[in-house]
C-alpha cells in the first residue's frame, strides 16, 4: 500500500491532524478517496447548475423548451450519471470495507500488551499490565486520565463503562469506540509517534462530559520502563506474586 503511505499523510502534512498510529493513514486515505470521488461530482453538478441558471435566464419574447423527460435521448442525461454514481459508490464501499476490517474486525494476534480502559462519569481509568506484561495481576498500574504506552508496540484494549455510555477517542490515532456499561469491547492500536496526545470522551455522558479529557503518553522504551518501575504499586514490590 505505497499509495496509502504517500497520500494518506495529507492531513498531517497540512497541519490539520497528526498521524499517530499504524492505521491512521488508512483512514485518511479513505477520507481523501471519498473527497476526490464526491468532489468531482459535487463540482460537476454545481457547475452545470450555475451554468444553467446563467444561461437560461428569462429573455423577452423567448419561450422555454417543452421537455418532459420521457424521451430516451433526454433521459440518458440522468441515467448515465446515475450509473456512474453507483460505480463510485462501489469503489468507496470496497476501500471502506478494507479499512473497517483492518481496524474493527481483524484483531491482530499476539499483542505486546493488553490494557483496560474504563469510562465513568467523568474520568478515564487506565489499567496498565505493569512489569509482568499481564493484565489483572497484582502489579497492574492504575492511572486516572493518563495512559502510558510504548511507541511501536501492539496493544489490545478492553473498553468498559461503569455508569453511562462513553466513547474512547484518540484523534491522532483515529481510534474511536463507544464504551457500554455491561460489556467489555476489545480493540487494538499501535502507536507510531512519540508524544502526548488528547484522549476525548466522544459520547455525551452528563454534566462533566466537557471536562472528561485524558492524555495519552507515547514513550520510547527506556522512558516507558522507567515509568513502569517508578509506578509499580509498593504492596507488590514488598510481596512478590506467587
Amino acid at each position: 500500500m505505497g499509495l496509502v503511505e504517500r497520500v494518506g499523510h495529507f492531513f498531517d502534512d497540512i497541519g490539520l491532524i497528526r498521524i499517530g498510529s499504524s492505521y491512521a493513514a488508512d483512514i485518511d486515505f479513505l477520507i481523501l478517496l471519498v473527497l476526490v470521488a464526491v468532489g468531482v461530482w459535487f463540482l460537476a453538478a454545481e457547475s452545470v447548475f450555475m451554468y444553467f441558471i446563467v444561461k437560461f435566464r428569462e429573455r423577452p419574447g423567448h419561450k422555454a423548451d417543452y421537455i418532459d423527460g420521457t424521451n430516451k435521448r433526454h433521459k440518458r442525461w440522468i441515467t448515465y450519471p446515475h450509473l456512474a454514481v453507483l460505480a463510485f459508490d462501489v469503489l468507496i464501499v470496497v476501500v471502506s470495507f478494507k479499512v473497517w476490517h483492518k481496524i474493527k474486525m481483524d484483531l491482530p494476534e499476539n499483542p505486546d500488551a493488553v490494557i483496560r480502559v474504563i469510562g465513568q462519569q467523568w474520568a478515564w481509568t487506565f489499567q496498565h499490565p505493569g512489569a509482568d506484561a499481564e493484565l489483572d495481576t497484582p502489579d497492574d498500574i492504575f492511572t486516572v486520565d493518563e495512559l502510558h504506552v510504548e511507541n511501536g508496540k501492539l496493544y489490545h484494549f478492553k473498553l468498559e463503562a461503569l455508569d453511562v455510555l462513553h466513547s474512547f477517542s484518540v484523534p491522532v490515532w483515529r481510534i474511536k469506540q463507544d464504551a457500554v456499561p455491561g460489556r467489555s469491547i476489545t480493540g487494538w492500536f499501535q502507536p507510531t509517534v512519540i508524544g502526548e496526545f488528547d484522549v476525548q470522551c466522544a459520547e455525551i455522558c452528563g454534566f462533566g462530559h466537557g471536562v472528561m479529557a485524558g492524555r495519552v503518553m507515547v514513550e520510547d522504551p527506556a522512558t516507558h520502563s522507567a515509568w513502569i518501575e517508578a509506578n509499580t504499586p509498593d504492596a507488590y514490590a514488598a510481596v512478590p506474586a506467587e
Partner: protein
C-alpha cells in the same frame, strides 16, 4: 357530478360556523378549517424556531468566547450548555421542521392542491394541533423546571437519559420524553388526514399522476413517519418507565440493554430525516417549474425515486451506530445500504438541474430560495458519503464534521425550504405580495453567513473536534489559536444570520399591512390553489368555482400555446376526463 354535492357540503359548513361556532378568538381555538390549523402550526413552529435560534446564539457565544456573560442569558454552566444543545436539536427537528414543513404546508396545500374544500377529517385535524400545542407547552415547561432542561442530547441515549442519578435532571428528562411522545401522537393524527385526503378528495378528473409533487412528497413523508414512529413511541414509553417506575429496559445492571434504545431511536430517526426532507424537495419542485417555466423533468422518475428513497431509508439506521458497540459485521451491510441511498438522492438532484435546462428562469425571491436549496443540499448530500463509509466514520463519528454535515441537510430543509415555501405561497396565504427587495436582502444575508457558520465547522471536525463540549480549553490539541479563530468566525456569522431574520419579520409585517394586493395567480402557475381567491375563502372555492382537472400540474411553455402556462383546471374543449 360530484361537484354539487361538494358545493352543498361547503355551504353547510359555512352556515354551521356562522350560526353555531364559538365567537371571537375562540373561533380560532376550535376552528377545523385546514388553513387556520396550518397557520397555527406555522406560527407555533416559527416561534419555536426563535427559541431554538436563541439557544444556538447562547451556546455559540460560549464556544467562541468561553466563560463570557452572554447578553440575554448570562454565564453558561456545563449543565446548561448540555441542555441548550440538547433542546436546540429537539426543538429544531420536532417543533420547527416537522410542524412547519409537514404540518403547516401539508395542511395548507393538500386540500387546495387537490381541489378539496377541507381535509377528510377536520376534527381529527383540530385534535392533532391541540395535542401538538400541548406538547409544545410540555417541552417548554421541561426547560424551566427544577434541575433544568434535559441535557442528554436529542438522541437521549440511556442509561444517561434513563437514570436521574446520571443526568441530574429528574423532571426535565421525563417531561422531555413526554413532550416528544405527545408530538408524535399529534403528527400521527395529522398524517391520517394527509393520506386520506389525497386518496379520497381529489377534484374530479385528477388522476394519481396529476397530483403536484409536493403533495405526493408530504403524503409519502407521512407514510414514512407512520411506519417508523411506532418503535420509537414504544421505546419512549419504556424510557419513561425506566425513569419513573424503576424498570430496567435499558439498564444493563438489571438485564436490559442500552443499545436497544439506539436501534429503536434510529429506526425512526433515519426515516425522520426523509420525513422532513421530502416536503422541502416537493416545495422546490413546485417553485423551480413555475419560475423556469418548465415541465418537471421526469415526473414519474421523481415519484419512483421518492418511493425508493423511502423504502431504503428503513434499512440504513445502524450507520448512526457503527462504533456504538454493535456487531462490526453489521457495519458492512449498513455501509452498502447507506451508500445506495445516494443513488436516488443524486438522481433527484439531477432531475432538478435537468429541469432548469432550456428554461426561462426568473430569479424571484422564492426561486432564489429554491435554487439555494439545491446548491446547499448538494453539500449536505456529498458529505454524507464520508460518514456512510464505516471506515471513515470511525474517525468522523461524533465530531463537528457530522454536525456540519447534518446542518447542511437540515438547514436547507427546515430553513431554506420554509422560506422558499413561505415566500412562494405568501400571496395565497395572506392576499398580499411580499416585498421583493427586502426578500432578496434577507436571502443573501441568510445564505452567505450560513456557509460561513458551517464550513469552519467541517474543518474543525476534520481536525478532531468532538461534539457537545462546552469549553475546548481542556483539550490542548483543540485549544490552539487558529481553531479558536474558526469558532469565532462561525459565531460571528451566526450573529449576522440571526440579525438578518429581522428583515424577514419586518418584510412579513410590512407586506401584510401595506403590500400590494395579490391577484389569484401572481406567479402564473398551474396548480389548483392559484385558481381561487387570495386568500381562499372558507371552503376554499366559491361553490360555483370548484375546480375540475384536465391535465398535470407542470404544463409550462407547451408548444403552440400563446400562454406559457396551462392551469390544471382550464378546459381544453375535449370535455371532462
Amino acid at each position: 357530478m360530484a361537484e354539487p354535492a361538494v358545493a352543498v357540503m361547503a355551504h353547510h359548513e359555512e352556515e354551521d360556523h356562522a350560526h353555531h361556532g364559538p365567537e371571537g378568538w375562540l373561533k380560532y381555538l376550535w376552528s377545523t378549517d385546514h388553513k387556520v390549523i396550518a397557520m397555527q402550526y406555522m406560527f407555533t413552529g416559527m416561534f419555536m424556531a426563535l427559541i431554538g435560534g436563541f439557544m444556538a446564539y447562547v451556546f455559540r457565544m460560549q464556544l467562541a468566547f468561553p466563560g463570557i456573560n452572554v447578553p440575554g442569558f448570562g454565564m453558561v454552566s456545563p449543565g446548561e450548555y448540555n441542555a441548550l444543545v440538547t433542546n436546540h436539536g429537539t426543538l429544531m427537528i420536532f417543533w420547527v421542521a416537522m410542524p412547519v414543513l409537514l404540518a403547516a404546508f401539508g395542511n395548507y396545500l393538500i386540500p387546495l392542491m387537490v381541489g378539496a374544500d377541507d381535509m377528510v377529517f377536520p376534527k381529527i385535524n383540530r385534535l392533532s394541533f391541540q395535542i401538538f400545542f400541548l406538547s409544545t407547552i410540555v417541552i417548554l415547561a421541561s426547560l424551566v423546571v427544577e434541575g433544568g432542561g434535559f441535557a442528554g442530547a436529542w438522541t437521549a441515549y440511556p442509561p444517561l437519559s434513563a437514570n436521574e442519578t446520571y443526568n441530574l435532571t429528574p423532571l426535565g428528562s421525563t417531561l422531555w420524553v413526554v413532550g416528544v411522545g405527545l408530538e408524535f401522537v399529534a403528527f400521527l393524527l395529522g398524517g391520517i388526514n394527509f393520506i386520506t385526503t389525497l386518496m379520497n378528495s381529489r377534484a374530479p378528473g385528477m388522476r394519481a399522476f396529476d397530483v403536484p409533487i409536493v403533495v405526493w412528497m408530504i403524503v409519502v413523508a407521512s407514510i414514512l413517519f407512520m411506519l417508523s414512529v411506532g418503535p420509537l413511541l414504544a421505546g419512549a414509553i419504556m424510557l419513561i418507565f425506566d425513569q419513573t417506575l424503576g424498570t430496567g429496559f435499558f439498564d444493563p445492571a438489571t438485564g436490559g440493554d442500552p443499545i436497544l434504545w439506539q436501534h429503536l431511536f434510529w429506526f425512526f430517526g433515519h426515516p425522520e430525516v426523509y420525513v422532513v426532507l421530502l416536503p422541502a424537495i416537493g416545495v422546490v419542485a413546485e417553485i423551480i417549474t413555475t419560475f423556469a417555466r418548465k415541465k418537471l423533468f421526469g415526473y414519474r422518475i421523481v415519484i419512483f425515486t421518492i418511493v425508493a428513497t423511502g423504502v431504503l431509508s428503513f434499512f440504513v439506521w445502524a450507520h448512526h451506530q457503527f462504533i456504538a458497540g454493535i456487531d462490526p459485521r453489521m457495519a458492512n451491510i449498513f455501509t452498502v445500504t447507506t451508500l445506495l441511498i445516494s443513488v436516488p438522492i443524486a438522481e433527484m438532484c439531477f432531475v432538478y438541474i435537468a429541469t432548469l435546462y432550456g428554461g426561462s428562469i426568473r430569479l424571484t425571491t422564492p426561486m432564489l430560495w429554491a435554487l439555494a436549496f439545491i446548491a446547499e443540499f448538494l453539500i449536505g448530500g456529498v458529505t454524507g458519503i464520508f460518514l456512510g463509509a464505516a471506515g471513515a466514520d470511525i474517525y468522523f463519528h461524533d465530531t463537528y464534521f457530522v454536525l456540519a454535515h447534518f446542518h447542511y441537510t437540515f438547514f436547507p430543509i427546515a430553513i431554506i425550504g420554509t422560506f422558499a415555501a413561505f415566500s412562494y405561497w405568501f400571496p395565497k396565504m395572506f392576499g398580499k405580495m411580499m416585498d421583493e427587495r427586502l426578500g432578496k436582502w434577507h436571502f443573501w444575508l441568510t445564505i452567505i453567513p450560513f456557509n460561513f457558520i458551517f464550513i469552519p465547522l467541517f474543518v474543525l471536525g476534520m481536525g478532531g473536534q468532538h461534539r457537545r463540549i462546552y469549553n475546548y480549553a481542556h483539550f490542548p490539541e483543540l485549544a490552539i489559536p487558529w481553531f479558536q479563530n474558526m469558532r469565532i468566525v462561525a459565531t460571528v456569522s451566526l450573529l449576522v444570520m440571526l440579525a438578518a431574520q429581522l428583515i424577514f419579520f419586518y418584510n412579513c409585517y410590512k407586506s401584510w399591512r401595506r403590500g400590494q394586493k395579490a391577484p389569484r395567480n401572481p406567479w402564473r402557475a398551474n396548480s389548483l390553489e392559484w385558481t381561487t381567491e387570495s386568500p381562499p375563502p372558507h371552503g376554499n372555492w366559491r361553490p360555483d368555482e370548484l375546480p375540475v382537472v384536465y391535465r398535470g400540474p407542470y404544463e409550462y411553455s407547451v408548444p403552440d400555446r400563446d400562454d406559457d402556462y396551462w392551469p390544471q383546471s382550464e378546459p381544453d374543449g375535449r370535455g371532462a376526463r
